[in-house]
């Protein structure tokens, strides 16, 4: 909101400079987003009257103008054309500095001397109009030589642009800001109670007021003003509206807006004679009822929208005959708008249930100055001051106005006052302060909280009706604690570093996830972050055809689904870099992919929310890596898996084709395998190469793209994938003996099974088995290959004899032949 300093000064005698006010407002939680100095620099601008206008020889864009500015006629060169002889225009004399910093000098153009400049609204900082001069003809008080500021009713002013938080409806008006400042500076705050003399007939004889749904509209008041002459507002009032960011319209509408800005209470004026029947009726909208609002749009009411808490309850304001004339608290209707011919005004001022307004405003996507205030919560008892103020303003701008006697006032349940027992110990306990009972009262009372001591350590606090944000009971204590802290000053609260004995730390999973990243980084991979919100077609392009979790309200069609795989994102990242001639890269991502809701992930709506449960989409955190550097292929990915297995001490990972003979999505059919936890364990990832057709489709690389993916939630769970023993194996001080064995074994027998058999047969004395060669070709039967291992034998307590090694070797060979049909070559 925009708060002019001069307006604030109506309520509090501010005697501080601007910088101090900015600090105070910030510290009160009324965040200053900008400070604007307006209307300054006009001291030397005067009103002048045009006496002559004539051409200048050889120039068609400028003219010679002679003006009367109260002294000798002055000759001026002017480039504007929107005025003529006898018009009144602003003149900046020689030596004047305009608000924009421009200094006016005496100049001669084409032989004509210009003794000043005639100004546009923009040049004077008064409007955006820079097209022509600011023409003042017809402005009251504008006589040649008179100061412009005086003629326009402009005083230099400071406007604070404030961000008022949602829990401070009371502060969302000039008086509210003034109240906070008064409390902070210990200055008196005065909120006048206007009294107008109502000389008209009884309001009841002119109009009626009926509320059929008091739960939506707990208070409705109606006043009537007759003999109104609609016209422009007084200069000072229009000027304030402009400074506050509103456009003046006419004195009736302006008075209503002025009251809202000043006191926070929206009101709505109707042309009484254009209502179908004199008076207002407030009721719940019927299902599907259509109302045309002031913006000319037909609004369908009474139909519940999507989502929780949607009731489809809308409050409509009708004329006395029940015909809708507006959406309650949000928008007026077109039918009874104030016009130039209006003479009788019916003023509606009401209090609406804030949640009703919030729901209707959200569903209709219709947020107005009024609805924004009602949904935050207005003051049900501030209405009387607001309507009185409206009458006062209108009587000042249209003196013929006659106010009808009395107010039609329909009240439902407005609740009693919110009285809170404030235990000062509890407040100090929340804030870490040591404020006494009376000190707290002194902080709260200037904000309108009436405090009565109750014993030494307690106050009975009556919450004013303009503070709906302060909740009853113990929750209200927290709210009051914030008020105490605000006025006291957050910065004055001491700081203390709490300590506790529980150690901090990362979980085993979190530590392992960091290790995963470090291993990949160590292998030359750069980590990327690719989009989670994707086009489902991207998933399909890498062979993932599952039904994605869709977003109800996506921002764009290609961001309408949650990703089911990170492959598409990584391939796009490869393509991005390749397009920039930096294609030979390794990239990885650690991120979440989503699948349809899994009953195992059902989240209870516990606590006071109660019953329902909602199944959440299944989320898996994956490591996905692509290897597209020089020389990279599937073996790079296998190498990376080896490094990870080593770092994480993973035991017993097996690489196998999918049990059903399929290919993992997006991968090369003959160069990819699944990674399993043990021989019969679950699949924990995939390794291999991206299908060359997919690589080509994404333009991801020239050559092969290695691929590794691990489901971290599974792989890092020691219950699923075992860990190598942490117990050290002593290093023998005795020499070891190596035995190289080459077997011919069927292609269908995985190498790891052969290693298992060799390790089993070698027993404790077998220190290591390492594969060093695989050969297919002449000399080996088709359907078989030769695999060569180096077996290293070593005993902890002696040097093994040739006989012992020979026996171990024979045992290993025999086991391989017996169990896997291998033959020694």
């Amino acid at each position: 909101m925009r708060a002019p300093l001069s307006w604030l000064a109506d309520f509090v005698p501010i005697d501080r400079d601007v910088d101090e006010l900015v600090v105070a407002l910030d510290d009160l939680g009324l965040i200053v987003e900008g400070v604007e100095r307006v209307g300054g620099g006009l001291e030397r601008i005067v009103v002048s009257k045009v006496l002559e206008v004539g051409p200048i020889a050889g120039a068609d864009r400028i003219r010679r103008v002679v003006v009367d500015a109260g002294g000798e006629p002055l000759e001026i060169v002017c480039g504007a054309f929107n005025f003529g002889v006898d018009d009144l225009v602003p003149l900046a004399g020689v030596g004047t500095v305009l608000p924009n910093g421009m200094e006016i000098g005496r100049r001669t153009m084409r032989g004509v001397t210009s003794n000043g400049m005639l100004c546009s609204g923009r040049e004077l900082g008064l409007s955006d109009d820079g097209e022509g001069l600011l023409v003042l003809t017809g402005t009251e008080g504008a006589i040649p030589g008179a100061p412009l500021a005086g003629a326009l009713g402009i005083e230099p002013d400071i406007v604070f642009d404030l961000a008022v938080e949602g829990n401070r409806p009371d502060a969302w008006c000039i008086a509210g800001v003034a109240r906070d400042l008064a409390a902070r500076f210990g200055l008196p705050f005065t909120l006048p109670t206007p009294q107008v003399t109502a000389t008209g007939p009884s309001v009841g004889s002119l109009a009626s007021a009926v509320v059929e749904s008091p739960e939506l509209c707990p208070r409705l008041t109606v006043r009537v003003l007759e003999c109104v002459v609609v016209g422009p507002s007084p200069k000072w009032l229009a000027r304030r509206l402009v400074l506050a960011g509103m456009r003046p319209i006419n004195n009736v509408v302006d008075a209503s807006n002025y009251v809202m800005l000043e006191l926070g209470q929206p009101t709505h004026p109707y042309d009484l004679d254009r209502l179908g029947a004199p008076g207002l009726l407030v009721r719940r909208a019927r299902h599907g009822e259509v109302v045309r609002t002031l913006d000319g749009v037909d609004r369908v009411l009474g139909v519940p929208g999507r989502g929780l808490g949607e009731t489809g309850e809308d409050c409509v304001i009708c004329d006395a005959a029940g015909e809708p004339v507006g959406v309650g608290g949000i928008f007026g209707g077109t039918s009874s708008e104030i016009s130039a011919s209006t003479t009788r005004v019916l003023l509606e001022a009401a209090y609406f249930d804030s949640m009703v307004i919030a729901r209707t405003s959200k569903r209709l996507a219709l947020r107005t100055e009024a609805s924004a205030r009602f949904e935050r919560g207005t003051d049900p008892f501030g209405i009387d001051r607001a309507t009185e103020r409206f009458c006062q303003l209108l009587m000042a701008s249209a003196p013929t106005t006659v106010v009808a006697a009395g107010t039609l006032d329909v009240r439902g349940d407005l609740g009693g006052p919110n009285v809170i027992a404030l235990d000062t110990g509890r407040v100090n306990g929340l804030l870490g302060t040591a404020l006494g009972r009376d000190e707290m009262a002194r902080l709260l009372e200037p904000l309108g909280f009436a405090c009565t001591p109750r014993g030494d350590d307690s106050l009975e606090v009556v919450v004013p009706s303009n503070r709906p944000d302060v909740r009853p009971g113990s929750h209200g204590v927290a709210d009051l604690a914030e008020e105490v802290a605000r006025v006291f000053g957050y910065s004055r609260i001491e700081r203390r570093q709490p300590t506790w004995t529980d150690p901090g730390g990362l979980s085993a999973y979190q530590r392992a996830r960091r290790q995963v990243r470090q291993v990949l980084v160590g292998l030359g991979s750069d980590e990327v972050w690719t989009p989670s919100l994707v086009d489902a077609a991207d998933d399909a392009a890498v062979g993932v055809h599952g039904e994605p979790v869709r977003i109800t309200n996506p921002m764009a069609a290609d961001q309408a689904s949650l990703r089911q795989t990170q492959m598409a994102g990584l391939l796009r990242a490869l393509a991005w870099n390749r397009d920039r001639r930096q294609g030979e890269v390794r990239l990885f991502e650690v991120g979440v992919v989503f699948g349809p809701p899994d009953p195992a992930h059902t989240a209870a709506r516990a606590g006071s929310g109660g019953a329902a449960e909602a199944a959440l989409p299944a989320e898996r955190e994956l490591l996905s890596a692509v290897f597209a550097a020089k020389l990279d292929d599937a073996t790079s990915a296998v190498g990376a898996l080896g490094a990870l297995r080593d770092e994480l001490r993973l035991a017993d990972l097996r690489l196998r084709p999918p049990a059903d003979g399929s290919t993992p999505p997006g991968l090369h059919p003959t160069r990819s395998l699944e990674i399993r936890a043990g021989l019969d364990g679950p699949v924990v990832g995939t390794v291999g190469e991206v299908d060359p057709a997919v690589v080509t489709e994404f333009g991801a690389a020239e050559g092969r793209v290695g691929w590794l993916e691990l489901d971290l939630g599974v792989v890092l769970d020691p219950g699923v994938v075992g860990r190598r023993s942490e117990v050290v194996r002593p290093v023998s001080r005795y020499p070891s003996s190596d035995v190289d064995l080459a077997f011919s074994v069927a292609d269908t027998v995985p190498v790891d099974l052969l290693v298992d058999v060799l390790e089993g047969a070698g027993g404790q004395l077998l220190e290591s088995v390492s594969l060093f060669d695989v050969y297919r070709g002449p000399g080996v039967e088709p359907g078989r290959r030769s695999v060569a291992f180096r077996l290293r034998f070593c005993a902890p307590d002696r040097t093994l004899t040739d006989t012992e090694v020979g026996a171990l070797r024979a045992g290993c060979v025999a086991a391989a032949e017996r169990e896997l049909g291998a033959t020694l070559r």
């Binding site: 989502g307 709210d479 990327v528 921002m555 959440l616 550097a629 292929d633 599937a634 190498v751």
Partner: protein, 360 residues
């Protein structure tokens, strides 16, 4: 097909079709098929010639003959397309088969691989550094799902349905369950509720945890906002905690992460889940408080929000607010990285450009 309708034409459609099908079937590679296609359907094919000769027929015959030729062409095209798909699949299988590599028998010691260090993502390294500071201060690190129920993301945090405060968090809803019951979390605060519920169930209060993670809001991406972003929050629940402890914790963290010359200040603010609430600013990291363009001359930069846990949140989690008190704070990880490394445009984080990534 009425034979003879092409009486003046030079071809017998039935014979042509049979011949053509045979030729198509005989092509054993896509290359060969391309040639067959050119012969059968190309400009000099019998079919094309017959088509050209239609002009010589009387209008009535021309129409039916033309239709016949077009039908024939369409049938042949379909057969060729089908054949081509089959041949392509065969050729692909052959290439893939020739490519076969059994990954279970890779000789690791034999691999050749480029020697180069990679880089963690800037968001990761920032998150790790933040976690390290908090861990050193005694915090554990907690995580939770990115898709959340309305209860955890809003209601338990004292933001009931249709509450105007929801306007602060423009959410993505998911087509899961009843409308608007499951959202992509708009903050990591739901993890606070999950932690509190778990601690209540296990009887293990106090809680001292930070919650880093990915969040989603329906904001248009620009230089300083991303609809998908990262946040870290902290929550401490214990007996006797006050706003002074909150302010002290923020100050300790600020100095530990940004350096001893950077301080914090708190200003009143509104968050539905804390009361009292505060925004917190830190000394401008560019000018160290002297005032510069980045901080609009104030010497301060806005970092995040914090406050004492609202009693309504404690109620929702089943914690007695008279026995326990707590504070919470949160800020953006991406924004932290942006401030520390002067990243002009946050969208760089999502571009995956190695020239950006390799600087961190």
């Amino acid at each position: 097909m009425a034979k003879g309708s092409l009486s003046s034409g030079a071809i017998d459609p039935t014979a042509l079709e049979a011949e053509s099908l045979q030729a198509i079937g005989a092509a054993t590679s896509t290359e060969a098929l391309d040639e067959v296609e050119a012969t059968l359907l190309g400009k000099r094919s019998a079919l094309a010639t017959a088509h050209r000769r239609l002009g010589q027929l009387d209008p009535e015959t021309r129409r039916s003959a033309g239709r016949e030729l077009n039908d024939l062409r369409a049938r042949l095209e379909a057969v060729i397309a089908e054949r081509r798909a089959g041949l392509r699949a065969d050729e692909r299988s052959a290439v893939l088969e020739a490519d076969r590599l059994d990954l279970s028998e890779v000789v690791l010691e034999g691999l050749r691989t480029p020697l180069r260090r990679g880089h963690r993502h800037l968001v990761t390294s920032t998150r790790d550094a933040l976690e390290d500071v908090f861990v050193a201060m005694g915090f554990t690190v907690a995580e939770g799902p990115e898709a959340e129920t309305d209860w955890y993301n809003f209601e338990a945090l004292n933001i009931p349905p249709a509450h105007p405060a929801r306007g602060m968090y423009d959410s993505f809803y998911l087509d899961v369950g009843e409308p608007e019951t499951v959202v992509l979390r708009t903050h990591t605060s739901p993890v606070q509720i999950r932690l509190m519920e778990a601690a209540v169930a296990a009887g293990s209060i106090p809680i001292h945890s930070v919650m880093p993670g990915r969040c989603y809001r329906r904001d248009t991406a620009d230089a300083s906002h991303l609809p998908v972003f990262h946040q870290v929050e902290g929550v401490v629940v214990d007996r006797g905690l006050t706003f002074a402890d909150l302010a002290g914790t923020i100050e300790t963290f600020t100095a530990a992460y940004f350096g001893p010359e950077v301080h914090s200040r708190l200003r009143p603010a509104y968050f539905p889940f804390t009361e009292p609430s505060a925004e917190y600013d830190i000394t401008c990291t560019i000018c160290l408080g002297a005032g510069c363009r980045t901080c609009s001359g104030t010497g301060w930069l806005e970092l995040g929000g914090c406050g004492m846990v609202d009693p309504a949140v404690f109620d929702a989690a089943g914690i007695d607010p008279l026995e326990w008190s707590g504070f919470a704070f949160g800020f953006g990880i991406d924004r932290c990285a942006q401030m520390r490394h002067e990243v002009a445009d946050l969208r760089n984080l999502l571009e995956s450009d190695v020239r950006f990534l390799r600087q961190f």
